[in-house]
Each structure stands twice: as structure tokens, then as C-alpha cells.
């Protein structure tokens, strides 16, 4: 099934012994000129690139406090070394968060610190872990900074909160700036600029798909649930990952949102201009590109004259929506001040449940025993509701409102300690299959334990990347792809449609 060894799941996960170079061969496809130029990057490795790397590093450390402080503060205590799912799954020491940071930090030390410069002059830069930029090192950067899903698990456990994701983003931005970009991310960002979503679905295709969904739901339920697109004057703009338009199980989530909107009698619409919640600008560490993608949502909100913005199920998208959207595309003073901007679809559904607006037949989900995968970006980089930790409670409350059988996975693998699916941060591409499978090992172990002990049959997620990743990689560990479901798929399956027409 795979041309690499699929790790064996362990009953009690153990911290592996180092295997140097175990993943040194893993690198994603390099971006070509046609994908670099639209993002404002050179098409190939520039001349004099070492100098340019130093210059960009200098620029970033002056613009990002996180980058500057984290390069200085690490004491090499080792607390983070066993926290990364990629280390746990591959045993490659360079997948330990601090070692990943050190690939970049050693260049910083050699070039920008007194101690590093001193020992470099004496010909012994290794005394203080300093090094010069070389082509081999650049290749290592390219390899290992694309073995980080920017999930922030390491930052939870570091005594100084050092977030390797910040270093990975900076490294990718530096590499892009000298012409070494990742094809997967950069091609996708280009599609958003040109068409409006990661999948490159143009407006007519969206219309088609949504009409198909309306027919499908009508047939299933006998109720005319609408999937509106580009409706001017609607109250709510739903921004959702484009995978929701056709991928499984994503689309069942979209059907769930539509049913919830139908039942709450909401006036809502999607937008073909902002037909993507995801924003790969974050993965490549580019404020400018991330901002440009985000501005499309502002443009759509103004164009359609909506009053609220709600985001569909997607992890990194929710991080950007919740934490960055106000910065990148705000202020939102033209929207209804009675609602946070933006809201998560789980917050919307949760509020509707609390207000008694939704009726469920929970028995519809009785054939499933559920668990819930906390997506890394939702867990450690965002919130839902007014209280810290709402990002854990609200999705679970929604699931429990529509399902009778629910069990959490072991505590050290959920909540703020959750393990990434292994496909985040721009790694969800076929050319990185090996690292994706190995990175999913800790989650697969946790899932296996509840499958065996509590009889769990399905795992729900609220992230398009998690869903795509799990359907693809969990089969390597003996699960089936349909064991992954959307949270709003469960909602959609249990909801009792009482209003016969969404236009009433």
C-alpha cells in the first residue's frame, strides 16, 4: 500500500529513540515560476541568495517580536522534544521542535549575535550552535520546515511559549523571498487570487454544485432547503472551505449548516468572490498574501451588504478568522455590533440550540458512537464563545445535543494537548504522503484506544484539512475512510426540519 514503512500503533505510546536522517529525504515539490510571480516572489533561486537570506531574516526579526524573542530565548531545556507528532511518528531528531528551530537559529546566531560572530571568527561556530548559510542547509530548511504543520503543540509545553510555527512560517517566507517556494501552497494561493477559492471552482460550477445539493436534500427530506449564493442583502455571509462544496465528508457538513440556517429562519448567503475560508497565506508566513486573501471577505461582505459573517468548519481558517481577520481586513464597524465578527458555525448552532430553535431526533445518530478530534488551530490559536476553552466545549456540546453516544479520547491527546492530524500547515499534498501518514500516528493511537475500549465508531472533526487528511491516511492504520465525519453532518442527520420552506 505504501512505499515506506507504516509505523505500528502502540498500546501505550512510547517516546522513540532518535533515528538521525530518518526523514531527510522528504521534501515537497518546488514551486515553479508561474506560481511564484503572482505572489510577489522570484521564480527561481536568486543570485547572491545567501545575502538575501540574511537580509530577509534581519527584516523579519525587526517586524515580528515573536521571531526575535524566540530566536534568543530558547535554553535547550528539551521540554518540547517529545511533543511533536512528526517526531513521535518518524523518530527523526530534526522533527523535535527545538531542533527544527535550530536549523534557522544557528544561522541567526552566526550572523546576528556577538557570541556567534566571535566563535565563527575563531573557526568554531559549533561552540555556541552557530552556522553559516549553505546550499545543504537551505535544502534541510526546505525539507524540515515542510515537516511542521504549524500546530503549536510545542508552544504549549515550552516554558517561554516558543512557538515553532512562528519559526517555520518565517523560514518559509525567507525561502519564498529567495525563490524557493512550495508548489502546493503557492499554486493554491494563486487560484484564490484568480478565481476565489483553493480548488479553483468558478462561479458557474458553484451554482451547479449548490443546485445539486438543493435537489439532493429535497429528495432526502422533502423540504426545500436553500443553498444561496451571491444573494445581495442577505443577513449572514457564510464563508466556508471550498472542500465543503464537494469533498466527503465535508459536503455533509455544508448540508448540516444549510439545514441549521433553514431551521433558524436565517437569511444567509455564500459568496463566489470569497468562496474560500482557508487561507494558505498563513502557511507560507506571508502577512501580505494572507492579508490579500482575507480582504476578499471584506469585499464580499461590502458587496453583498451582509450584517454578519459566519465561518464553516475549518481549523486554520478559524484561526485566521478569529485571531487575524480584524487585523487584516477590519475594522468591521459596518456589520451588526450585536454579534462577534466573525462567528464560527458551531457558535451559531450552539446559540440556536440554547435558544431552543432547533429540534433533533438524536436516535438518527444512534448507530454511531462518536469521539471528537480537536483541530490544532482551533484548540491552540482561537476561541469560541465568551470563555477561554469554549473552543473545546462548544463543539462537544453540539455533538452531544445531537448524538447519544460520545466518548473523548485520552486527555493527553485532546484539548490544548491535541495532536495535529498530520496534514496541516500546507502539508496536505500527495508529494508528502509519508510524513502525513507518520505524523498521524499519535492521533491514530488515541483513536484506536477508544475504538477498542469504548466501542467508538466515528471521529468528528471541524476542519477541512483534518477531514481530508484522515480519510486518506487513517486507512493505512486499519481504519476506514468513512469513520471521519463532519460535526455538522451529525447535526444535519439528527435535525428535524419543521419549516417547510426556507423563504417563509
Amino acid at each position: 500500500m505504501a512505499d515506506f514503512e507504516v509505523p505500528e500503533l502502540q498500546e501505550i505510546p512510547v517516546i522513540p529513540k532518535l533515528k538521525e536522517g530518518a526523514m531527510a529525504h522528504s521534501s515537497p515539490f518546488i514551486s515553479k515560476e508561474q506560481f511564484q510571480i503572482p505572489l510577489g516572489y522570484p521564480g527561481e533561486l536568486v543570485e547572491n541568495w545567501e545575502e538575501k537570506v540574511y537580509e530577509k531574516m534581519d527584516d523579519l526579526r525587526k517586524r515580528y517580536r515573536s521571531f526575535q524573542v524566540y530566536l534568543d530565548a530558547c535554553v535547550k531545556c528539551g521540554a518540547c522534544t517529545d511533543k511533536c507528532h512528526y517526531y513521535l511518528g518518524t523518530s527523526d531528531p530534526k522533527n523535535m521542535p527545538v531542533a527544527r528551530q535550530d536549523l534557522l537559529r544557528k544561522v541567526y546566531r552566526g550572523k546576528f549575535t556577538a557570541a556567534g560572530k566571535f566563535w565563527t571568527k575563531l573557526g568554531m561556530p559549533w561552540m555556541v550552535g552557530a552556522a553559516e548559510m549553505t546550499k545543504e542547509l537551505l535544502d534541510e530548511w526546505y525539507s524540515y520546515f515542510h515537516q511542521c504543520s504549524q500546530c503549536r503543540r510545542c508552544s504549549v509545553y515550552c516554558p517561554y511559549g516558543i512557538d515553532t510555527a512562528e519559526i517555520s512560517m518565517a523560514a518559509r517566507e525567507i525561502m519564498d523571498s529567495v525563490g524557493v517556494g512550495q508548489k502546493y501552497c503557492n499554486e493554491i494561493i494563486g487560484k484564490v487570487f484568480k478565481i476565489g477559492n483553493n480548488l479553483g471552482l468558478p462561479q458557474p460550477a458553484l451554482v451547479d454544485t449548490l443546485e445539486g445539493l438543493e435537489e439532493e436534500v429535497q429528495e432526502d427530506t422533502g423540504v426545500a432547503v436553500k443553498f444561496p449564493l451571491d444573494v445581495k442583502g442577505a443577513d449572514i455571509l457564510l464563508v466556508t472551505p471550498s472542500a465543503d462544496f464537494f469533498a466527503e465528508p465535508h459536503v455533509d457538513g455544508l448540508i448540516g449548516y444549510a439545514k441549521v440556517f433553514h431551521e433558524t429562519g436565517a437569511s444567509w448567503t455564500m459568496s463566489s468572490h470569497a468562496s474560500e475560508a482557508g487561507n494558505f497565506g498563513m502557511f507560507i508566513g506571508s502577512y501580505e498574501n494572507m492579508r490579500r486573501v482575507s480582504r476578499r471577505i471584506r469585499e464580499a461582505a461590502i458587496e453583498l451588504g451582509v450584517k454578519r459573517i459566519v465561518f464553516g468548519e475549518c481549523g486554520h481558517a478559524w484561526r485566521i478568522a478569529y485571531s487575524f481577520l480584524n487585523t487584516l481586513a477590519g475594522p468591521w464597524d459596518f456589520l451588526d455590533p450585536n454579534y462577534p465578527v466573525p462567528q464560527h458555525i458551531c457558535e451559531y448552532t450552539y446559540d440556536a440550540i440554547q435558544a431552543g430553535k432547533l429540534k433533533f431526533d438524536k436516535s438518527q445518530n444512534d448507530w454511531r458512537t462518536m469521539t471528537f478530534h480537536d483541530s490544532c488551530n482551533v484548540a491552540r490559536a482561537s476561541r469560541m464563545g465568551p470563555k477561554p476553552g469554549g473552543q473545546f466545549e462548544i463543539p462537544r456540546a453540539v455533538i452531544k445535543a445531537v448524538c447519544n453516544n460520545f466518548h473523548d479520547m485520552p486527555a493527553e491527546t485532546i484539548g490544548e494537548a491535541t495532536f495535529c492530524c498530520g496534514g496541516g500547515g500546507g502539508l496536505l499534498t500527495d508529494d508528502l504522503m509519508e510524513i502525513r501518514v507518520k505524523g498521524a500516528k499519535p492521533r491514530a493511537e488515541a483513536l484506536k484506544s477508544v475504538v477498542e475500549e469504548q466501542g467508538v465508531t466515528h471521529m468528528a472533526a471541524i476542519c477541512a484539512i483534518c477531514k481530508s487528511q484522515f480519510t486518506k491516511v487513517l486507512p493505512y492504520y486499519g481504519f476506514t475512510m468513512d469513520q471521519i465525519v463532519s460535526v455538522h453532518q451529525l447535526v444535519g442527520d439528527a435535525i428535524v426540519l419543521t419549516k417547510s420552506d426556507s423563504d417563509e
Binding site: A73, A79, M96, A99, V156, D163, Y287, N326, R380
Partner: protein, 254 residues
């Protein structure tokens, strides 16, 4: 006064200057560097007061490290707490006996805590050193400077502990040397090999502080994942350079 005493007077002024100016410059650099985005590691406090508590838990209890690794936490916390005790004990060399703080400093409990703290410090350092050698992951990420730093502090603690447990130095003369430094009325340093080693190593530590990983101390307070309030939807966060991008775009459109 001997040449050696003069040398130490000079050394301590130089080390203090490097330490104070170096750390101040770093703090200024951190404070001036913008944080363009909201990146607290969540769940995070939603108020400024909450952030103060979060930070206090990190500084006083090393709470993230506690979550992470109990051994590193035990050794690391023991070492740092002992450092605090030792610091307090050393104040008696710098505070004259007519100071109002004197009864507080010169009380037998504080002095004993400082003295026995030295043993805890050595134990903590040994534990940290052991982890660096024996845990393959920690060994992998350690540079020579990481070992040397532990050895340096170990040597400082050992020479210090020896002076209080084994041979005693002339603390009256030492105190007049220290007060002399403070009041620019220089006095001779006791001629004691242990003391001289101890002081030289302390000066070395001060000299390398601003150019080493010891910057973790000020760094923690500036770590955006720990010091930011989780309120991005309620309050717009924008950096000067982020604002400049917005302004340039607005101007281009107008």
C-alpha cells in the same frame, strides 16, 4: 590596595555595565519590535489581569514546564528557586547594618535558607546536566556552550558553598569591598583564592548574560504567546507596519 583588588574593582564595574546596558538594550529591542498579529497560545486569558496571572504562574511556578516534563521541572525549579535564596542571602554584603531592610536580610532563617539553598542548587544543576548527557533527545540539541553554562554556574555555586560550609572567608572585609564598590570608596578584597574564583566567575556570568540564552529571563515577558490578551474580535490589533500597508492601499485606491 593590591593590583588584584583594583582589577576586581574594574572587573565589576565593567561587568555591571555590560550586564545592565546589554540587557536594557535587549529589552528595548524586544519592546520596540512590533507584534503584528494576535498569537496567544489558547486557551488564553481574556483580560489583562488574566494575563498578569498567567505570566505570574509561568515565572513563579514554571507552569508550562510542569505540564511538559516533571523531571526537568523539578531540577529547573529547584535550581532557580535556590538562585533566588542565594541572591537574598548575598544582600547582606551589599546592605549596611543601619539599613531598614537589615533585620529582614540578616535573619537566621533567611541566611540558613540561602546557605542550604546552595545544596539544592547543586542538586538541580546536576539533574539538568545529567539530562543533557543521558537523555538522547536533550544531548542531540545541546551545544558545547550549553554544557559550559551549567558548568560555570555549578562552579560558582560550589565555590560559594565551600566558603560557607568549609573554609570561611573574611566577610567583614568582603562587605567593605562591596560597599566600597557601591559608594565609589574602594577597599581591598580579601586575599582568598576561593573568593577570587567565585567573584571572577560571577563577573563572567554577568558579561555573557546579554549575549547568551540567559536572555530567556527577559524574553519570557515579551513572549507573545504568553503575554497577549485573547480578545482579537473585541479589539482590533494592528501594528504600525500593518497599518502602513492599509494606508498605502487606501491611498492607491483613492
Amino acid at each position: 590596595m593590591t593590583a588584584l583588588s583594583y582589577f576586581f574593582v574594574f572587573l565589576f564595574y565593567a561587568a555591571t555595565a555590560v550586564f545592565v546596558i546589554g540587557v536594557a538594550r535587549k529589552i528595548m529591542q524586544y519592546a520596540r519590535t512590533p507584534a503584528p498579529l494576535k498569537i496567544p497560545t489558547t486557551p488564553a486569558p481574556v483580560t489583562q489581569t488574566g494575563v498578569v496571572f498567567r505570566m505570574a504562574r509561568e515565572v513563579v511556578l514554571f507552569s508550562s514546564l510542569f505540564k511538559s516534563n516533571k523531571w526537568t521541572w523539578v531540577f529547573g525549579w529547584m535550581f532557580h528557586f535556590a538562585l533566588l535564596l542565594a541572591f537574598v542571602r548575598h544582600l547582606r554584603y551589599a546592605i549596611s547594618s543601619d539599613n531598614i531592610l537589615w533585620p529582614l536580610i540578616n535573619n537566621s532563617l533567611v541566611l540558613a535558607a540561602g546557605q542550604y539553598g546552595a545544596l539544592a542548587m547543586l542538586l538541580g544543576l546536576t539533574g539538568l546536566f545529567g539530562r543533557r548527557i543521558f537523555v538522547d533527545r536533550v544531548r542531540y540539541i545541546s551545544a558545547p556552550s550549553d554544557y559550559l553554562m551549567l558548568i560555570l554556574i555549578f562552579a560558582i555555586a560550589t565555590t560559594g558553598a565551600m566558603m560557607s560550609f568549609v573554609t570561611h572567608t573574611d566577610i567583614v572585609q568582603l562587605k567593605s569591598f562591596v560597599l566600597g564598590l557601591i559608594w565609589f570608596n574602594w577597599q581591598p578584597l580579601p586575599n582568598d583564592g576561593l573568593l577570587i574564583t567565585h567573584l571572577a566567575l560571577v563577573a563572567l556570568l554577568m558579561l555573557i548574560f546579554p549575549i547568551s540564552k540567559l536572555l530567556h529571563a527577559p524574553g519570557l515577558f515579551f513572549s507573545p504567546t504568553r503575554n497577549q490578551v485573547d480578545n482579537p474580535r473585541e479589539k482590533r490589533h494592528i501594528s504600525p507596519w500593518g497599518q502602513a500597508i492599509d494606508d498605502a492601499e487606501a491611498k492607491a485606491k483613492a
